[in-house]
């Protein structure tokens, strides 16, 4: 007869905290917790002691006091009498502006260079390799400074545009490149529907969003029709109409016209002034990050095996549809995650604005406000909070995307 015996009742002994792997992790975590608490207490103690010694305290009241400095490029109304908080918001908007612009152009540069690096043309291939290597291996700060120097030291002064036979002329009579910034034609509304300018443009954007939904609906309808009859109706002119007619009518009602910059006195006026620092930062971030994106795009396209193309071709798909239906969906899965982290890098690198005097949030909140109020801890914490919010929200979006395109495996 076999006798089943229970394993002997084990009693917990203190020594098992070290010798038994089941409890050892508890010991380690306990030690880690104690060390962490002591470290935090030590740092906080030092902080409090230092602050009392310097006669300071943590307070955010300075945010609601007048800032007392001017900002040359603002998206919202701002004067030196506005609060420090408003200066910080101006900075945040400027950061988002340059980051958004740079993301778009960096994608364009990067995709172009990445595709051309795989071109059959030897010269183009080598040229793009040189571009990527040069821009990846030189610090972005140097690129920002180089382009800023071009904008300020090489571009002509506005006075060079004066006179019968000026040294410089405006490009196509519309754009003026000067050392004070670039002047481009600006849209003006002759008979706006609302008093606040922003509201009018918001209405236009609303119309465009509506057009986007309209376009989607049209696409769905065309697909349904194709599945029912086998023939896809031609819709491109409808799409064009949906996009342009409503917004066009709205803009016509509001009396859209373009104001062309003209030399008045010592400077250009009219149109939109894009400051040299903004252009330096925008362009430098674009070409620098573009080089990284080019490598991502190349890797993404090369990651798709040739068999995919051949399989699609043997199914009878035309080259255009092979690209759209087979190659791109797979390549994008490889390209988009690093692309988004490059966008994140652009946003973080835009903090280099402080080196060329562009008023982003680092330059306003972390630069002038910090120096004028002396509130170092508060300013730096707010600054980090802003960047963390952006980074974490972009990461969250990326995780959702990654999960949605993940290869469905066992």
């Amino acid at each position: 007869m076999t006798i089943l015996t229970d394993p002997p009742e084990e009693q917990f002994r203190i020594s098992m905290l070290l010798s038994d792997t089941r409890y050892r992790s508890l010991t380690f975590q306990g030690i880690a917790l104690v060390v962490l608490i002591f470290a935090i207490a030590y740092l906080a103690g030092n902080l409090i002691q230092n602050l009392t010694q310097a006669g300071l305290s943590i307070s955010y009241e300075f945010l609601f006091k007048p800032s007392g400095y001017d900002i040359n490029q603002t998206l919202i109304p701002y004067t030196s009498q506005s609060t420090n908080l408003r200066a910080a918001i101006v900075g945040v908007l400027n950061t988002l502006l340059v980051a958004g612009l740079a993301c778009v152009t960096a994608t364009i540069f990067g995709v172009t260079a990445g595709v051309l690096r795989l071109s059959k043309n030897w010269l183009i291939r080598k040229l793009m390799a040189v571009y990527v290597e040069i821009f990846r291996n030189i610090p972005v700060l140097i690129w920002i400074i180089i382009i800023f120097t071009i904008m300020t030291a090489v571009m002509p002064a506005p006075s060079a545009f004066r006179g019968e036979d000026p040294d410089s002329t405006m490009l196509l009579g519309l754009f003026a490149f000067t050392n004070r910034g670039v002047y481009v034609p600006g849209p003006q509304l002759a008979s706006p529907l609302f008093a606040a300018t922003a509201l009018n443009w918001f209405l236009v954007v609303l119309f465009l969003v509506g057009s986007w939904f309209g376009g989607r609906a049209l696409g769905t309808w065309a697909t349904a029709k194709q599945e029912a009859t086998g023939v896809r109706p031609t819709t491109w002119y409808w799409t064009l109409a949906i996009w342009f007619v409503p917004a066009g009518i709205l803009l016509a009602i509001m009396g859209l016209h373009w104001q062309i910059p003209a030399l008045k006195g010592f400077n250009f006026s009219g149109g939109i002034k894009v400051g040299g620092p903004l252009i330096a930062l925008w362009f430098a971030l674009s070409i620098y990050t573009g080089a990284f994106i080019a490598e991502n795009v190349r890797a993404g396209i090369q990651a798709i095996s040739k068999g995919q193309t051949e399989a699609a071709a043997s199914l009878g798909l035309r080259p255009g549809r092979i690209m759209n239906l087979v190659i791109l969906p797979q390549a994008l899965r490889v390209i988009i995650p690093p692309l988004i982290s490059q966008y994140l890098n652009i946003t973080k690198n835009s903090s280099l604005a402080i080196a060329v005097g562009y008023a982003d949030v680092t330059a306003t909140l972390g630069g002038i406000t910090l120096n004028q109020t002396g509130r170092a801890i508060e300013c730096v914490l707010l600054l980090m909070l802003f960047y963390l919010t952006i980074s974490l929200s972009i990461s969250a979006v990326m995780n959702i995307y990654n999960n949605s395109v993940k290869l469905k495996e066992r």
Partner: protein, 432 residues
């Protein structure tokens, strides 16, 4: 039969044609040109546009470089020598060479010290980079931090010796006890090192000489490209071990440790380096004990190390994730404990996979050392934008200086990335 055949066709060749070379269009340069540059009209157009672009760039840059003036005292003198021709004024580089490399205020007669330290660094790095070199050279690597510290900062010679003794004692203890019980050896080693440092620090203070052999140089006198190199080398070498610890912590199944590592990594990766440098320059001092003076260089090193260790941790985590689960299970089934499994089985493989990523982080970090110019440290960029361009002699020589800085960084960064590609091929042990 053959007769009929002979009559049905007009001509039958009876001898073999001798082999002839392929048509000129299908061979050699012509074929290469047709295939690679002029295969279609679109390709031809692209080639012409690219050639035109290259011509534009070269025709602007080459005369500028070859007409360059290397000997002059100021920009105005350069312009006089050039007499209206286009040409660079490289004289600024020759005249300000020392400032570009060593900064504004490093004592002139002591330049040999950083130069010697740089030369020893090359020897110290070599055995780490190239495995074929004799392993004995690693002794130089181990001694290098102390030698370099002594050479660059000077001061009493006992300071680096005590630091070295502490590390040595810690290593001996770890070697003695770490084989059996990793934790005991590790913590024992650290404790020993601290004991030695404590006693040694006391002794150093006691016998501090009036005039040390090496004139002490304060950290604020460091500058130029030397500062970039120092920050880059120090922070990379410190952040690799820290990154390994963070990555292992993030993989750990202890929730508290994992939590600490995740929060640290995500926090540091979420903020730009500039904000961390602000912390170093204006905020970190508040967290040190009152009346202690930790100089800016050390504070910057702390923050940059934190920054890059978070990135390296993510790279190594990728390497750990890429290892097949069988490796972990095999290590467990051999009866290895956690430190043994990590040291002998997991990390060697995971680190090998992560080398390209680590090198990328290192290159990025080296480029990012230029950001210290924003918090008014005079590194290469700080020197160029500050003292040199602001001086009356050289106000306006942007391109020569910025070009020089770009060239220096390009050579170093491109070199490192080429090395990493070579290493990747070298370490590729899987059979493809």
């Amino acid at each position: 039969m053959s007769d009929a055949h002979a009559h049905s066709v007009a001509f039958v060749r009876t001898e073999v044609i001798p082999q002839s070379p392929p048509p000129a269009q299908q061979t050699g340069v012509m074929k290469w040109l047709r295939d690679n540059l002029f295969s279609s009209w679109a390709n031809t157009l692209l080639t012409l546009v690219a050639a035109w672009l290259i011509y534009l760039i070269l025709s602007a840059i080459l005369p500028w470089i070859f007409n360059g003036v290397w000997n002059a005292d100021s920009l105005t003198q350069c312009r006089e020598i050039l007499a209206g021709r286009t040409g660079a004024c490289f004289a600024v580089l020759t005249e300000r060479w020392n400032q570009l490399l060593f900064g504004y205020s490093y004592p002139r007669d002591l330049y040999w010290r950083p130069v010697l330290a740089f030369a020893i660094m090359l020897v110290a790095i070599a055995p780490v980079l190239f495995f074929d070199l004799p392993r004995k050279l690693l002794i130089v690597t181990a001694l290098f931090p102390f030698i370099a510290f002594y050479l660059i900062w000077g001061g009493p010679i006992l300071t680096p010796i005590v630091a070295l003794l502490g590390c040595g004692a810690g290593y001996v203890v770890f070697n003695r006890y770490g084989k059996g019980n990793f934790a005991a050896g590790f913590f024992g080693g650290i404790a020993t090192a601290f004991v030695v440092w404590g006693v040694g620090g006391f002794v150093v203070d006691l016998v501090r000489p009036e005039t040390p052999w090496m004139t002490p140089v304060p950290s604020r006198d460091l500058g130029g490209f030397m500062l970039n190199m120092m920050l880059g080398v120090t922070c990379v070498s410190l952040s690799v071990p820290l990154g390994i610890v963070l990555a292992l912590g993030r993989q750990s199944d202890m929730p508290l440790i994992k939590g600490i590592c995740v929060v640290f990594i995500e926090f540091v990766r979420g903020v730009p380096l500039i904000t961390l440098l602000f912390v170093a320059s204006v905020m970190l001092a508040y967290f040190f004990p009152p009346d202690s003076t930790v100089d800016l260089f050390l504070r910057v090193v702390i923050m940059i190390t934190m920054f890059s260790s978070a990135y390296i941790a993510e790279v190594i985590r990728g390497g750990l994730a890429a290892l097949p689960k069988g490796q972990f299970e095999a290590a467990d089934s051999l009866g290895l404990d956690y430190p043994q499994a990590m040291r002998l089985i997991i990390l060697p493989q995971a680190l090998k996979i992560s080398i390209p990523g680590i090198v990328n982080v290192a290159v990025g970090l080296f480029k990012d050392t230029t950001l210290v110019s924003v918090i008014s440290m005079f590194d290469l960029i700080g020197m160029i934008r500050g003292p040199i361009l602001a001086s009356t002699e050289w106000n306006g020589v942007y391109w020569e200086l910025l070009g020089f800085a770009s060239l220096l960084f390009f050579v170093v960064c491109y070199g490192i990335s080429q090395y990493s590609q070579w290493l990747e091929r070298r370490l590729a042990t899987d059979h493809r």
